[in-house]
Structures are given as structure tokens and as C-alpha cells.
């Protein structure tokens, strides 16, 4: 596909800018053409009209003369040549020339007195305007004038017009295409920015050139709108985080008080048991608060702040070493083929957190006897971490929701957890611009973490939410 200025030809032709350009060219060309046709028609009418009138006049004039003077008049006219451009001929009723410089009756001439275009009888290249009539005594009178000059002028007109109009149309076409490309590029730039805004990067702004056309004014308005929107969104996000933050201190002091009371009554008593239970409850609340704050923390983490190259294979080996006993203790087989080295760039501690969350889920939701697998797939610079289990899996309709805060599927309500693990994973993936896909393992599920920047396009958590009204179905890319 040929490319021009970064656009494919087909896209260009479909673009609005291009259509405006070509429409403009068509209108310009059409009006030029119409003007020419009018001019051409009008000028040839005027030229022929003058000629025809003189022919008609001559015919009338001669026909009105006494018949016996005609031969003399015509022959004496001929002596004034070459000043006279009109040719006159008198013929016997059966078409034999009596006098005059018309050698023969032109073929196809209707002898009704009207002026007609005919071939000159002597030279086949020459055109005449001629009129003929039958006189009262039966003889035939023909008057003719050469039309070659007029035809010549007309041909010149057409040639001139072609030389002017065709380049004009071509020029306007080229202009149209150029305007089209320029407009299209600008629109494209704008829609790319808009796309990023939809993907959750509310800090993006539409490009405003220094000009003051409609598009610039529109961009400025949209930008003002985005600013308001960003303010509101930041405020909204902050509310939840602030609540979580403000809950921490009171919860901590409640816990401390409970601990003290527990010591006073002693753990053996009935009161002690219920206090211990309350402490567990407070701990749960505290851990939810911490997890929420952790999600917020990663969301607001500066990208690349702590990014360093490290070996993903080593991270997986350590994770496997830590979690294999946990899986086995639960009666699950743990599969982990020794991985190769796979250097990636990222925040190691945070990525470990994501992988640990996936493995933890796989072990937690898979009932024994079952299998949990941790694999390093992909090649070279595109390593993929796979976490696979033989558990109940995740229904296609829920594959998007599991990445939301607090989502827990009905089937897993009995398991411990608060539904924050995967939202944390999603934030971590977004922070690195990696991608995560969730598929079926029949039975079980398969999480695939693609560990290279841009693995899933400009991905953020909000993209999942922005897409939530699209059709459900595997695999889900964030």
C-alpha cells in the first residue's frame, strides 16, 4: 500500500479533508467548464449569426431583382473580387450553372432559403454557410460564404480553453488533496490524543496551533472541558484514598486498645475470645485499608522512578521456591520448569508483588487435588509469565470484572480475601505498560503477563473500565 505523509492512500481517499478537497476541485472545474461552454456557444452563435444574416440578405436582395438582370448583376459582382467574400451562383432548373462563382449546387442543400452548413463543392476541406432558393422562373439561386475562418476561431477557443481549464482543474485537485492531507493529519493527531484521554491519561491535552480557526477554537474548548474533568476525577479518586488514609490511625488505636484489654482479661476467658475475634476483624479492616492505599500508591507512582534491569527468570525461581511448599501443603502439584534468563526493565519489588498475587490466587482458588503452574514463555525481549491452575476458572463474563477493586466472584466468596489483589496487579501492569491476558485452561484459568513496554498498547486500568461496555470474551487485554 503506497503511503503518503504517513497516511495510506485508501484512508486518505476516505478522509473528510480529501473529500472536501476533491469536491472543491469538482465545483471549480465544473463552473469553469460551464463558463466556457456558455462563452463558446455564445460566440459561435454571434459569429455565425452575422454570416448567416449577410447570406440571407444577399439571397433576398438578388431574388427581388428582375430575373433578366440577374445574370448581369452576378457577373458584374464577380468583377469586384476579391473584395467580395460572398459567392453567388445561378443555375438552370435542372442544376446546370448559368453564371457565378458557385461551381455546383452543394450536396444536401435544401433550397428553402434558410442558411445551412454544407461542404464546399470545389474543395472538400472547406465548409460553407449557404442558402438557396428556386426563383419564380424556375432557375436556382445559391448564395454561400466560407465558414472556415469561424471554424478556425472555434477550434482555437477550444484549444485555449483546454490549455487553461485542464491545468486549473488539476491544480485545484492537487490543492484539495494537500488541504485534505493537512486537515487529516491534524484530525488524526487530535483523535490520537483523544484516544489517550479515553485510555485514562486525563493529563493529555489537544494540540492547539497558534491559528484561530474553528478547529483551534474547538480544541481550546475541549481542553477546558478536560481540565475540569481531570479536577473532578482527581478529587473523586482522592476521596477514597483519603478515607482509607484517615481510617488507619483510628483503626490502629482501636487495635491497640483491644490488645491491652485482651491482656487484662487473659486470652482464656470468654471475653478474651471475643476480644481476640474483634482483633482479627480489625486486622482485616486494616489490611483492606493498606491494600487500598497500596493500589493508590502504585497508581500515583512516578513511572520509571525505580526501573532497573533485572532477571525475570530469577524472580520466578524465587517465587517458585517460596510457593511450592504452600501448594504442596494444600495437596496441589506445583509445576515450574527451570526458566532461562530473561532480562527486563521494571520495578523489581513491585513486579514480584504482581506475580506473587497471581500465584497466591492460583493456589487459593484451586481445590486439591490439582495443579498450579508457573512458566516463563516468550522469547528474548518479549518474555511472558504464565500462571496456570486447574481450579474452577473464571467465567468469560467476569474476566474484566476481576481486575476491579473489591470484585470477588460469587463462587469464591467462601475463600479469604478482599478482591484487591488483581486490581493491584492491573495497576502494576499499567505502571509498566505491560499487558495481562486472562484465558481458559479448561478447567482452570491462565493468566499471561506480557513483560515488555507497550505489550498491550497504551494500557491503564481505566482502559478496562472504558471498554467494559464492549462485548465480553477471551482473551482480555488490558
Amino acid at each position: 500500500m503506497p503511503r503518503y505523509a504517513g497516511l495510506r492512500a485508501v484512508e486518505l481517499i476516505r478522509s473528510r479533508g480529501f473529500r472536501w478537497g476533491t469536491t472543491f476541485a469538482a465545483i471549480l472545474g465544473g463552473s469553469l467548464l460551464a463558463m466556457f461552454v456558455l462563452m463558446f456557444w455564445r460566440s459561435s452563435y454571434l459569429l455565425f449569426d452575422a454570416l448567416d444574416r449577410s447570406v440571407t440578405e444577399q439571397v433576398e436582395l438578388l431574388a427581388a431583382r428582375p430575373p433578366d438582370m440577374l445574370v448581369f448583376m452576378i457577373s458584374s459582382r464577380m468583377n469586384h473580387r476579391p473584395a467580395v467574400v460572398t459567392q453567388v451562383g445561378l443555375f438552370t432548373p435542372d442544376g446546370i450553372s448559368i453564371v457565378g462563382d458557385v461551381p455546383a449546387i452543394p450536396v444536401g442543400l435544401d433550397l428553402n432559403g434558410s442558411v445551412q452548413a454544407v461542404q464546399a463543392p470545389a474543395s472538400p476541406t472547406s465548409q460553407w454557410r449557404a442558402a438557396g432558393r428556386r426563383l419564380a422562373d424556375g432557375r436556382l439561386l445559391i448564395v454561400a460564404r466560407e465558414a472556415d475562418e469561424i471554424l478556425e476561431v472555434r477550434a482555437d477557443l477550444i484549444r485555449g480553453a483546454a490549455a487553461g481549464i485542464v491545468p486549473a482543474i488539476l491544480l485545484s485537485l492537487v490543492g484539495g488533496v494537500l488541504v485534505g492531507i493537512a486537515t487529516e493529519r491534524r484530525l488524526r493527531h487530535i483523535s490520537a490524543v483523544a484516544e489517550r484521554v479515553i485510555a485514562g491519561e486525563l493529563g493529555e491535552r489537544l494540540p492547539c496551533s497558534s491559528g484561530d480557526d474553528e478547529l483551534d477554537r474547538l480544541c481550546a474548548i475541549v481542553n477546558r472541558m478536560l481540565e475540569r474533568f481531570e479536577d473532578v476525577a482527581t478529587a473523586l479518586k482522592g476521596v477514597g484514598d483519603n478515607i482509607a488514609h484517615d481510617l488507619r490511625t483510628p483503626l490502629t488505636s482501636v487495635r491497640a486498645r483491644l490488645e491491652r484489654s485482651l491482656r487484662m482479661v487473659g486470652p482464656g476467658s470468654a471475653a478474651g475470645a471475643s476480644i481476640a475475634e474483634s482483633i482479627t476483624g480489625v486486622d482485616r479492616a486494616l489490611s483492606i485499608v493498606s491494600a487500598l492505599l497500596r493500589v493508590a500508591e502504585i497508581r500515583h507512582a512516578r513511572r520509571h522512578k525505580a526501573f532497573v534491569p533485572f532477571d525475570l527468570g530469577e524472580v520466578l525461581s524465587e517465587t517458585a521456591e517460596t510457593f511450592r511448599p504452600v501448594a504442596e501443603e494444600k495437596g496441589l502439584a506445583f509445576r515450574f520448569p527451570p526458566p532461562c534468563r530473561a532480562m527486563i526493565i521494571g520495578d523489581r519489588d513491585i513486579l514480584v508483588e504482581a506475580i506473587v498475587n497471581l500465584v497466591d490466587n492460583a493456589i487459593k482458588f484451586t481445590p486439591p487435588p490439582g495443579v498450579v503452574g508457573l512458566y516463563l514463555e516468550g522469547t528474548g525481549e518479549h518474555p511472558i509469565v504464565q500462571v496456570i491452575d486447574s481450579g474452577p476458572g473464571i467465567a468469560p463474563a467476569e474476566r474484566r470484572d476481576v481486575f476491579r477493586r473489591f470484585f470477588r466472584s460469587d463462587a469464591s466468596r467462601t475463600a479469604s480475601g478482599s478482591g484487591l489483589g488483581l486490581s493491584l496487579v492491573a495497576e502494576i501492569v499499567a505502571l509498566h505498560r505491560f499487558s495481562i491476558t486472562l484465558g481458559d485452561e479448561r478447567p482452570g484459568c491462565r493468566f499471561e503477563l506480557r513483560c515488555w513496554p507497550g505489550a498491550g498498547g497504551p494500557d491503564t486500568l481505566d482502559r478496562v473500565e472504558a471498554r467494559s461496555n464492549e462485548a465480553h470474551g477471551p482473551p482480555l487485554h488490558i
Partner: protein, 225 residues
């Protein structure tokens, strides 16, 4: 008994920590802001200092840094509401000996303080002994009363960590952070699983248990009396 300085500007948190320390038999001094804390901290009568990271007047990090430049080597424990891994690292780099993110259980604070006060046995030793337990760090061999223990790498690390802190409570959080390298909160039983496996290897049938679970707090490894 040891003397502890608590530098904390939030009165409620300060009084809670103080109450718990007093209950455990420590002598406690208090300061509520940075400069006040620093002037008390330098006078050399403290066995450990617990300080908040964000303090009015002089922040906790800077306070620790100033202590270190004045060659005050008293162990310090930074408390912080900030949880980022990098904050923890800057805290430790500034010279703090440990770092605890709020909110924390008081038991956690006490366990860490105890470790700080007793400064775990130096890293230069190549053999560790606790009762009948022996750990050869070079040959990477563990044994109990001459019986070789067949430990996985993680279990070896775990045992080494516990043996360096014998007789001191070690919390799950400490193990998660220091042995497993997880600087984040994680809600699984993975520490208990590893401890359970280690314990089964340590104690042959009939032998007295060496590794005990402390209710709600963590674990303690100690030689049987």
C-alpha cells in the same frame, strides 16, 4: 531494664507506644517534635530510639542522619505512614536500623525493638549454635545433636535468621521482609507453611520442640532449658 526514647508528634500514638513499653518494663522518655527529640537523643542515656518519620521542626530522616554524623550509634526504629519500598530504603540509608510502616501491631514494634536492643549475632561467624542446633554457613549444613538436617534453601535461610535471633520473638512480617524479601503486605499462610516444614525437620519424634509459635505475634527459637 532498657531505656527507650519515643519521638512521636501524634499524642495518641505516643501514649499507646509509651503504655506498651512501660508495661513491658522499659523506662520511657518522650519528645513531641524534631528539635526536642534531637536534643534528648544526643545525651547518650538511651538504649534505643523509636521515632516518627514526619515530625514538626525536623523530620525523622534528618534527625537520624544528624545523630549518625555526631557518632551517636544508638539503634533507631523509624515509624512511617509512607509505605513505598523506596521510602523504606531511604530510611535505612539515612542510618535507621529498622523501619516499620503504620499501622502496626504493638507486638510487632516490641519484637523489632527487642531485636534492635540485642543486635543479632554478628555476620562474621561461620558457625551458629543454639542448644543442640548447629549451622555451618560455609558448608551450608545444618544438624541437630549430630543428626544432619536435610533443608531446602529457603528453610536454611529461615533457620539462619531464627538462630541469629535466638530467644527473641520474630514476627511474620519480619520473616516476610527479611527472609522472603517481600516488602509488601501479603495475606497468605506462606510463613506458617515454611515454619511448619522447618519445625518438622528440626524436631525428630520425642525431641523437645525448639521452634515455638507465639500466639498472634510470631515465632521464637530457643534452646530447651
Amino acid at each position: 531494664m532498657a531505656t527507650i526514647l519515643v519521638i512521636e508528634d501524634d499524642p495518641e500514638t505516643a501514649s499507646e507506644i509509651r503504655a506498651e513499653l512501660v508495661r513491658c518494663g522499659f523506662t520511657v522518655g518522650c519528645a513531641a517534635d524534631g528539635p526536642g527529640g534531637l536534643s534528648q537523643a544526643v545525651d547518650g542515656r538511651w538504649d534505643a530510639i523509636v521515632l516518627d518519620r514526619m515530625l514538626p521542626g525536623l523530620d525523622g530522616l534528618e534527625l537520624v542522619r544528624q545523630l549518625r554524623t555526631r557518632n551517636v550509634t544508638v539503634p533507631t526504629l523509624l515509624l512511617s505512614a509512607l509505605g513505598q519500598v523506596s521510602d523504606r530504603i531511604t530510611g535505612l540509608r539515612a542510618g535507621a536500623d529498622d523501619y516499620l510502616v503504620k499501622p502496626f501491631a504493638l507486638g510487632e514494634l516490641m519484637a523489632r525493638l527487642e531485636v534492635l536492643l540485642r543486635r543479632p549475632s554478628g555476620g562474621t561467624q561461620t558457625r551458629l549454635h543454639v542448644g543442640p542446633l548447629e549451622l555451618d554457613l560455609i558448608a551450608r549444613r545444618a544438624s541437630r545433636g549430630g543428626r544432619t538436617l536435610d533443608l531446602l534453601a529457603r528453610e536454611f535461610q529461615l533457620l539462619e535468621y531464627l538462630m541469629r535471633r535466638d530467644g527473641m520473638p520474630v514476627t511474620r512480617k519480619m520473616l516476610l521482609e527479611d527472609v522472603f524479601g517481600y516488602k509488601f503486605e501479603i495475606r497468605t499462610n506462606l510463613v506458617d507453611v515454611h515454619i511448619g516444614r522447618l519445625r518438622r525437620k528440626l524436631d525428630a519424634p520425642g525431641e523437645p520442640p525448639l521452634l515455638l509459635t507465639l500466639r498472634g505475634e510470631g515465632f521464637i527459637l530457643s534452646a530447651p532449658q
